[in-house]
């Protein structure tokens, strides 16, 4: 329903916006923006500079166009059902005009409402064709329904704000527990579960066909981790110290492959300061 009252009414909107703020209605209808030397000021003097922040603050007091409209109606002690659309529209436009005068960035919602009001006003002016059922609907109905609806929730919000709240009006009572045992048991895991999961990943990644599987792979990768772990501790290690003779040929080969793989993956650097000098490896850093 917001969208149906749109740009067709640009001229009406502009006309309404240009209407003087103070018409022939009683002065009390206007909300003063400020009180200067005991005099309420409701029209922004053209030559007076008001910091935009000030009006922004006034506008922030409203939760959007519905709230502003409701305020304008309540200010005149009017019942929502009894609103004078023309008058309310005029006042509403006054605010919009003010906001535009000081180049306040106006929320689009305010303009949509302005258009809706202008439309209602124009429809009120048209002679009714009571014979036509579809056309006869009071143009205010939609607006009144929306205003009432909004007001209910505005009230409900105030009610909720008044309700006792934890940490403001009521407090959860608690007592210390001695010897609180908070060990969280870890789940049991079966290696089969891990293998199963892995098989699923492999299948998903469709890697079966395209890769040669080397028997040594896992031990090589384990050794790669070991070497990195060691470099994390001492940051430098001599190449020879990586090899453990006790592991035999097999172990030496695994270590060598691990070092080659680490170099290939740019995870370590090999450093030799002089020709035929000792070779060191170090974790790669920039």
């Amino acid at each position: 329903m917001v969208s149906k009252a749109q740009p067709t009414n640009q001229t009406e909107l502009a006309a309404a916006a240009k209407a003087p703020l103070v018409g022939n209605v009683p002065q009390q209808d206007e909300m003063p923006f400020a009180v200067v030397q005991g005099k309420a000021v409701s029209v922004l003097p053209r030559d007076l500079y008001i910091p935009p922040d000030a009006l922004e603050i006034i506008l922030e007091a409203f939760e959007g166009p519905m709230d502003l409209l409701l305020y304008l109606i309540r200010r005149q002690n009017l019942d929502i059902l009894d609103i004078d659309v023309a008058e309310i529209t005029r006042q509403y436009m006054g605010y919009i005009q003010l906001m535009q005068d000081i180049q306040l960035e106006l929320a689009a919602d305010y303009l949509v409402m302005a258009a809706m009001l202008a439309e209602i006003k124009s429809r009120m002016l048209l002679p009714r064709q009571s014979s036509d059922e579809e056309e006869a609907e009071d143009p205010r109905v939609e607006l009144i329904k929306r205003l009432q609806e909004y007001e209910r929730f505005k009230r409900a919000a105030e009610d909720i704000d008044q309700m006792p709240r934890l940490g403001r009006d009521i407090y959860q009572a608690s007592a210390e527990v001695p010897d609180r045992d908070q060990r969280r048991p870890h789940p049991e895991v079966d290696m089969r579960d891990i293998l199963t999961a892995f098989a699923v990943v492999l299948q998903r990644a469709e890697m079966y066909e395209s890769h040669q599987i080397e028997f040594e792979t896992l031990s090589t990768r384990e050794r790669m981790s070991d070497i990195l772990r060691r470099l994390g501790r001492q940051s430098f290690a001599s190449f020879e110290s990586l090899f453990t003779p006790g592991e035999g040929r097999h172990g030496v080969v695994v270590t060598f492959l691990a070092v080659m793989e680490l170099i290939k993956e740019s995870l370590i650097d090999i450093v030799q300061t002089e020709s035929f000098g000792p070779i060191h490896i170090t974790a790669k850093t920039t």
Binding site: D82, K145, I170
Partner: protein, 224 residues
């Protein structure tokens, strides 16, 4: 197990937990062979409540169970424990919350329709972070907007057992006498299917569940 010990255990657990405990959670405190029947647990709670009479605290029931809480009459003094004043919520936040409370489940668009302004994402996020609201589904329209509803934590926070305890929404006024023409128009518009707002009563029981809600029933609503 004798009633006295049961009472002590319930009492101790409610104080130790720091959150509401329901009967089934209280049951789980007891080993299988010593577990008292539920009636006895309820009797223990009533017994504890009787002990609290005239004291500065009581056991109350909220949405997720029973908790010890300090009575609100002591708030003026208790509040001095904390330097910071309890947070005030903006009107925008409260109005948004009010709409979710009374019209749930609903979308952000539904809220905007009533409030007449865009609802900032910050507000929705803040309410979700507080775990006062949660997404309970998506409306089956283009964009599949999230449907929001309040949680048990919301009820706990506001000291409520259920949404039914909330104050009723204000009534839509009857404008019949004021303007017969208006009445006519309203009657006609009420007869026509209108998207929103024909139910002045509390629509708490999914009364006006708007469109198809796809799957995902109340997950996220429970607090543990």
């Amino acid at each position: 197990m004798n009633a006295e010990l049961i009472k002590k255990i319930v009492e101790g657990a409610l104080l130790a937990a720091g959150r509401p405990l329901d009967i089934s959670q209280l049951e789980k405190l007891f080993a299988d062979d010593e577990r008292p029947p539920r009636d006895q647990l309820r009797a223990a709670i009533e017994d504890i409540q009787a002990d609290c009479r005239g004291r500065g605290y009581d056991v109350v029931q909220v949405a997720s169970g029973f908790r010890f809480q300090v009575s609100d009459e002591l708030a003026p003094w208790i509040n001095r424990l904390w330097e910071e004043k309890p947070k005030r919520y903006s009107r925008a936040m409260l109005e948004t919350l009010a709409l979710i409370v009374y019209r749930q489940p609903l979308t952000r668009g539904d809220i905007e329709l009533v409030r007449g302004v865009a609802v900032s994402s910050d507000i929705i996020r803040a309410l979700q972070e507080r775990e006062w609201i949660a997404v309970v589904g998506h409306r089956d329209v283009p964009g599949r907007p999230a449907l929001y509803a309040t949680t048990k934590l919301f009820l706990n926070y506001f000291n409520l057992k259920s949404l039914q305890q909330l104050p009723a929404l204000g009534e839509i006024k009857d404008f019949a006498e004021l303007d017969p023409e208006l009445e006519l128009a309203l009657a006609r518009s009420a007869a026509a299917p209108s998207a929103d707002s024909q139910n002045p009563q509390l629509p708490l029981e999914a009364a006006e569940a708007p469109t198809t809600v796809t799957a995902k029933p109340s997950t996220g609503i429970s607090d543990e």
